[in-house]
Amino acid sequence: MFDGERVAELFASWGVTHVVTVPDSTIGRWETAIVAAGLHLVRVCREGEAWGVAGGLHLGGARPLVMIQCTGLFESGDALRNVVHDWQLPLFAVIGYRSYLNQDTLPGDTCLVFTEPVLDAWRIDYRLITRTEQVGAMTEHYRACRAAGRAGALLIAEGKA
């Protein structure tokens, strides 16, 4: 849906300093552009790690963003709970929503069943992004979360180039 240049430009305009990530076939293609835009890309081995690393970056004065797929969100539970709720760090995530736009590769993908309820369960204020025309809403949500000092996420529909 989005190309890497557009996403990198967006992150840079938000003041993001570090993108902590595990790739999938959509968000992974943004990496080159993110690095080219001057942002630091921090590659971690599993998504739960990303929340701890982002927590440390935030405490240290940086402005991190977690960029993972929704399957990694499922893996992230305890790490997310700890930094966002115990420590109340206002971390922001961009989460790829696997199979949302089509299920040709994975018919009946249960990501569509669990992703949004899991975000609700973890009390993450998120916006579902299904069209590139929503780019203004993405920035609006990021800035609203920053201003309120709360964690937030953008759920980016995946499944089409």
């Binding site: 701890g52 935030h58 405490l59 115990d86």
Partner: protein, 220 residues
């Protein structure tokens, strides 16, 4: 097939090991502790740049330490971890060496147990494995890409080598054998985490940069 050699640990007191660190800690160092190292570190006193990761996510002190090291490249970040905690987040060793922060020191206090829950053997300890072959954390760290790896079977060796460990360009990891105490209580949070996070952020802003001065003794 030949069984791998069992790593024998001389052990010693975790608190004594941490006291050796405290004696060498610079005023601008961040010391991040979790689980039983957090319990014993707090017993030695407090410092504004202590980050006591209690409550924690399981094993995530190394991840948070990596983030701090990247955000504060001119400040030494020392993570005090246990072997049980490290086993819960082994991938973080690879993430650390991938990012390569020169200012990060990871200390792993190995007692072979989950001491906070009653000292059950970890699956990495000789006692916790069918073959009785304790895993070699130093070899693991090297295989994960650490170039600065120190292995101390016990606290005496750590005391003698701690200054070298802390002076080495990182990312650095030191494996330190300590003795498990099954009767010791688990760590307790020193207060609401969110308020401590705010104080810690403020301390980073206001504490002087690298001075080389040791931290004055503070009472427990």
């Amino acid at each position: 097939m030949t069984a791998a050699p069992i790593a024998r640990r001389a052990g010693g007191s975790l608190r004594d090991a941490l006291a050796a660190l405290k004696a060498l800690r610079r005023a601008d160092d961040v010391v991040l502790t979790t689980m039983t190292p957090a319990r014993d570190w707090m017993a030695l006193g407090t410092h504004p740049l202590d980050l006591v990761l209690v409550p924690s996510a399981m094993g995530h002190a190394t991840s948070m330490g990596l983030g701090l090291a990247l955000a504060q490249p001119d400040r030494r970040i020392i993570v005090c971890n246990g072997d049980g905690s490290l086993l819960m987040n082994l991938g973080s060793l690879v993430s650390i060496t991938a990012a390569g922060p020169r200012n990060l020191v990871v200390l792993v206090f190995v007692n072979g147990t989950y001491e906070a829950t009653g000292a059950q053997p970890t699956p990495g300890s000789a006692e916790g494995r069918v073959a009785g072959d304790a895993v070699d954390f130093a070899a693991m760290a090297r295989a994960c890409g650490f170039r600065a790896v120190f292995d101390f079977p016990g606290v005496e060796g750590w005391r003698a080598g701690a200054e070298t460990v802390l002076a080495t360009e990182g990312p650095t990891i030191a494996i330190i054998g300590v003795t498990s105490d099954p009767t010791a209580p688990g760590p307790k949070s020193p207060g609401p985490a969110a308020a401590r996070a705010s104080r810690f952020i403020e301390a980073l802003r206001t504490q002087p940069g690298r001075s080389g001065e040791p931290v004055p003794a503070s009472p427990p």
